[in-house]
């Protein structure tokens, strides 16, 4: 447990020292989401209809931006070797890294989304559902992304491969996440979608660190 906390602390400290990386993803999210209302114009009915999809697609792409840097710096400077050789299980340390990735990229998106959602004329109920959906969905994006980042570690042109590998796996999160907000707006209730999203998260929490660890071991051999 101490090892997890040490890894999270270290990665957050590193994120603080390389602020530009974190801010890039955040500004990307803000700009992409803000451009749509400006481009479409003040048609509130249309904006309300497309809001969940746009916010989710932007969140998805913003998470992808920093993904290739999740393990690459650790691989380059030998930290990954030391993690494999640490007396704590590698799966635990990898989980710590994924949590740190979520805190630096996922959590800011969750907090910003309601503010950006106002531009799309979403009411407070829909904004709440959006926030909850993102709160469940963004850890899922970090977990799935970690598998892709580990699999493409040390591969030339890994960035493109990473997108090809990870984006299809993000589709269920996108469908249920955006679907939850749409269902709430249309009066069907978001419960079903959110439950499915949470089920996906539970599955990913269990399998993703394990798959990531296996991929990292192969990359290091």
């Amino acid at each position: 447990m101490n090892a997890i906390l040490a890894i999270i602390r270290r990665d957050l400290l590193l994120a603080m020292r390389r602020k530009s990386e974190v801010l890039t993803a955040l500004f990307f999210f803000i700009i992409v989401v803000s451009l749509f209302p400006l481009g479409i114009g003040p048609e509130t009915a249309l904006l309300r209809k497309i809001a969940p999809g746009i916010l989710w697609v932007a969140a998805l792409l913003a998470t992808m931006l920093g993904l290739s840097r999740l393990f690459a710096p650790d691989h380059a400077d030998g930290t990954l070797e030391q993690m494999v050789l640490a007396p704590s299980p590698l799966g635990l340390l990898v989980t710590g890294k994924i949590i740190a990735h979520w805190i630096t990229t996922g959590l800011p998106l969750v907090l910003l989304a309601p503010v950006l959602g106002i531009q799309f004329d979403l009411d407070s109920g829909a904004l709440g559902v959006l926030m909850i959906a993102l709160l469940i969905g963004t850890p899922l994006l970090s977990l799935i992304g970690a598998i892709g980042a580990a699999l493409t570690l040390g591969v030339r042109g890994g960035g493109v491969l990473l997108s090809l590998l990870v984006l299809p796996l993000y589709v269920p999160a996108l469908i249920f996440g955006a679907g939850a907000v749409e269902a709430h707006i249309s009066g069907l209730g978001a419960g079903g979608h959110l439950s499915l999203l949470a089920a996906l998260l539970a599955l990913a929490v269990f399998f993703a660190p394990w798959a990531t660890t296996a991929a990292l071991r192969i990359a290091l051999e």
Binding site: N2, L13, R17, D77, E81, P87, S88, L93
Partner: protein
């Protein structure tokens, strides 16, 4: 006691070495020598359990290291070519965070003492990015002074170090071996230490 029997290593289609036996006991150290590309680093990585050997078995205290896993990691310290030193963090942060990962948290005075021993006094709070290559190596070597491990596996520990630091490191290894530790290292320099054996590959 570390023993290896019938080790072989294959990289691509080339066989680097095969049928390699070695045994190092407490109070001994092994100097692995060989030309560039002979497989020194590969051998050390196999011994550190970072990559599996193509053939052969490695035992630590009479148990195969495959089954020991984390118990072996606790007894062993591996320092490779790459520093595992984060450029954005200070030497102090690097050292204390590495110690936490090793499961042996370090208090502030012990960490500062170790850094001072390696001539980094006054540089504790400067990001490693601003240090020279030799000073970066010193940050890494400070871990040797604080980590309680029986087996040291060091890959080219003398690279980029100045004369004074080389003496300091030799002294550290001598101390470790005298106290019953084991050290396996690669180096192109000759090492004037007692109880040493040379393995040529």
């Amino acid at each position: 006691m570390l023993t290896a029997t019938g080790l072989s290593c294959v990289r691509g289609e080339r066989c680097l070495f095969s049928g390699l036996d070695l045994a190092v006991g407490p109070g001994e150290w092994l100097h692995v020598q060989g030309e560039n590309g002979a497989g020194k680093t590969s051998l050390l990585r196999i011994l550190a359990s970072l990559s599996p050997p193509a053939e052969g078995e490695i035992h630590w205290k009479n148990a195969p290291i495959r089954t020991l896993a984390e118990d072996y990691h606790r007894d062993m310290l591996f320092l490779g070519h790459h520093g595992a030193v984060k450029e954005e963090l200070t030497p102090f942060e690097n050292l204390t965070l590495a110690a936490k990962l090793d499961g042996a948290p370090l208090d502030e005075t012990a960490a500062l003492k170790a850094l001072a021993r390696f001539g980094l006094r006054g540089r504790e709070d400067l990001a490693v990015r601003f240090l020279s290559a030799g000073q970066k190596r010193r940050v890494l070597l400070a871990r040797l002074a604080v980590r309680q491990a029986t087996l040291w596996i060091l890959d080219e520990p003398f690279t980029a170090l100045d004369v004074k630091a080389v003496d300091m490191l030799s002294g550290l290894i001598e101390e470790h071996v005298k106290a019953g530790g084991i050290c396996i290292l690669t180096s192109h320099q000759s090492m004037p230490l007692p109880n040493g054996r040379v393995l040529k590959i």
